[in-house]
Amino acid sequence: MNEAKSATGIGASVKRKEDVRFITGSGCYTDDINQPGQSHAAFLRSPYARARIESIDASAALEIEGVIAVLTGADMVADGLGDIPCGWLVKQKDGSDMVSAPHPPMAATQTNYVGEPYGVVIADTLAAARLGMEAVLTDFTELDAIVDLATVRDSEQIHEGVEGNLAFDWELGEREATEAALASAAHVTRLDLTNNRLIPNAMEPRAALGIFDKVSGEHTLYTTSQNPHLARLVLSAFVQIAPEHKLRIVAPDVGGGFGSKIFIYAEETAVIWAARKVGRPVKWTADRSESFLADAHGRDHITHAELGTDEEGRFVALKVQTTANLGAYLSTFGSAVPTYLYGTLMAGQYSTPNIYVEVQGVYTNTAPVDAYRGAGRPEATYVVERIVETAARELGRDPVELRRLNMIKPDQFPYETPVALVYDTGNYEASLAKALVHADYAGFAERRAAAAAEGKRRGIGLACYIEACGLAPSNLAIQLGAQVGLYESGEIRVNPTGSVTVFTGSHSHGQGHETTFAQVVSDKLGIPFEDVEVVHGDTGRVEFGLGTYGSRSLAVGGSALIRAAEKLITKGRRIAAHMLEAEVDAVEFIDGDFLVKDSNQSLSFAEIAFAAYVPANYPEDLEPGFSEKAFYDPENFTYPAGTHIAEVEVDVDTGVVELKQFVAVDDFGNVINPMIVTGQVHGGVAQGAGQALLEQAIYDEFGQLVTGSYMDYCMPRADDVPDFTVDTTVTPCTHNPLGVKGCGEAGAIGSPAAIMNAVTDAVGDNSISMPATSEKVWRALR
């Protein structure tokens, strides 16, 4: 028992439970599910970035064999459906609410980005639906597209009542103190940065299958969601598709999310609505072109930053001014990402005493922008770590030494930053030191010389990042504008034979919860790993949940399971005390056994479970049954942090940048499954490398998406990245029972800054922007 437990318990690299179905082709993704009598949906999408819908003539489409219905945004309005709400209400500088333009599920009168759905054709077959789509005649009046961030404030108004296309003008920190400190600083480093717009590109496109049961009135929506309960809440309470108890949302196997599957989208909404309207199941699966156009995009900031230093090189003040492109509408977390998930991170790992951040969130005629892996924190890290590196160069200081000088020291925790966070714990110098060894930082000069001898330029760059995960606590988040709580639910149902089924409100779309959560529960309850089944992603089976984003699953969802397990143990001790005729206080729970102290009497977990369901010899005042649940609301964020070091080589003749080495040393607190954690870092780093070197979503002046397929949008492929060196340091989180911090986003947070510090170091030009394509680098070298 003990041996088995240590091989599968907390800290073991257990092979994943979910893998067998995926490697044999037996996974069950939304598009793999079919219903008898199902029809297919094809969406009518705006060909213009901004246009008035004058009329829609569906008569020819309805003549086509197999076409069942053509439904429009106007039909949705007529049916009384509500708008899609933004989940975070940001307060502006002057205390007023942000200006949230109405976001109809499908456009009814005006479209505001290319690809925006304004209607849907339902047909017997997908082919017929597509033919129908071609046959619909829509009369648009094209309006000028507003896409340029530099001029958006002075452009025509996109939404009625939104002056200057400004959704919010937000600030954090002390402006006067920061400006005064900058004015008296010995040196001020100034930097203009662009954080390139990205398209998340989970490999599984979004999909939905809506089913309406006339008899029971029940709606079922299979969909690619990271948070099915939140989707149900919004679709029920705001969009008013159906009452919550008549709406079941199932997110089965989901092929990656990276944020893009958090949000409530038009298509999923339309599919479940249409299923009731046409009286048949309706299915829709995005093709990749639709994903490019209509998935929420990420990043897209322009920023000016100033960092003041004193004579010794200590940071005295940081001022950051950012314009964030929100796209045509405020998506679910669109307002939170460039504010509370961005401005709050500007202290980084440093004890900068004065910090001020202001962010103007603007509407443009582009797809909505929302959370993408890291969500605000990669953007913040990019600002902090690029300007720190730049300061080191300007001051002629070693970038490592300058960082070390300014780092928050281990004895300064808990550390309150000037931008509203309290870091509970950390040891930044430890991860820095370890990363330097892995990267052989000391040997870099030699490698640079060797590269130079071959006519290549070699550069090295660091990023010492911090992130805040597991947004919390709920009451604070709600005060700051969140429209939902940020706890998580967990339930452990023990079966009479002692095996358990775990229900979690977190959702796994690649993270491996079925394995990690089983490790946590089997370890805590001392039962075999194989005896734990993890259920997630179905509002019909799991009581409630807020889903998976912001690296919150283990820290919040895992903690809920620990709390539920503790309740089980408490109840088990009472049952055991009764059965063994001992005082409750004398019963201990160790490694799956309830033991009476100082005796050889004990009962196993399974025996207690059986007794709870067959209560023959049982405490009179205790309910039978052995099942407990908990809602866990964290006290604080968790603060993963670490150092990433990139080394690149630039071909002077071609401008091609080769990522030669990437080292990531992260402090995620305690680690449950090192294999899975390492994999999360690998994936994040590759996405960050994609942002730094390859990826960019580009709209032209008419608001047409130029990078609308894998031919034009450059995804990192196997030969674009090297093997990565990944290691950890540990300072356990102080406020959750597992001591964990979250590992899902770190790779994508630290890597862009580290890589761009390396590229600009190699080229000797600090103005190169992401992505550092061969063309840009080649030009910079001329």
Binding site: M203, P205, V254, D719
Partner: protein, 158 residues
């Protein structure tokens, strides 16, 4: 039009519209949903299968091009009880997260190992260039392929 093809050893005679893609036949007509669709420009490799012993992107072949073909999909190479060495290597090396790219990756990796006697890290990376994975950063996929390449292929015939 009529097509006949063999998929995972089973022969099928089908009547399909001319513009039907092989991947649609596999997924919709035969219900073999292990083969995935990740793009519409033949760029991602999620749909990779073996046709007459070579990997093809099944989203880029029309019904008229596959008459008489022998197709093997992810469902045809191993079972949970008897995994293909490449399937086992993917699990062993944690070479998958969401699993969506995985069937295509495995099909391509099998061919790569068969075709290339001396595989190294660089050759694997170049060989997998046609398959996109958004989750793993490729590190563990490369490791899995090299791991499987070390297993004698005679250990288990496809």
């Amino acid at each position: 039009m009529k097509v006949s093809l063999t998929v995972n050893g089973d022969r099928h005679e089908l009547d399909v519209p001319e513009n039907t893609l092989l991947v649609e036949i596999i997924r919709e007509r035969l219900g073999l949903t292990g083969t995935h669709i990740g793009c519409d420009t033949s760029q991602c490799g999620a749909c990779t299968v073996h046709m007459n012993g070579r990997t093809v992107k099944s989203c880029s072949l029309l019904a008229g091009q596959i008459d008489g073909a022998e197709i093997t999909t992810i469902e045809g190479i191993g079972t949970p009880e008897d995994l293909h060495p490449m399937q086992a290597a993917f699990r062993e090396c944690h070479a998958l997260q969401c699993g969506f790219c995985t069937p295509g990756m495995i099909m391509r990796a099998i061919e790569l190992v068969e075709q290339t006697p001396e595989l190294d890290n660089k050759a694997v990376r170049e060989g997998l260039e046609g398959n996109i994975c958004r989750c793993t950063g490729y590190h563990n996929i490369v490791e899995a392929v090299l791991h499987a390449a070390r297993v004698p292929q005679s250990a288990r015939a496809e």
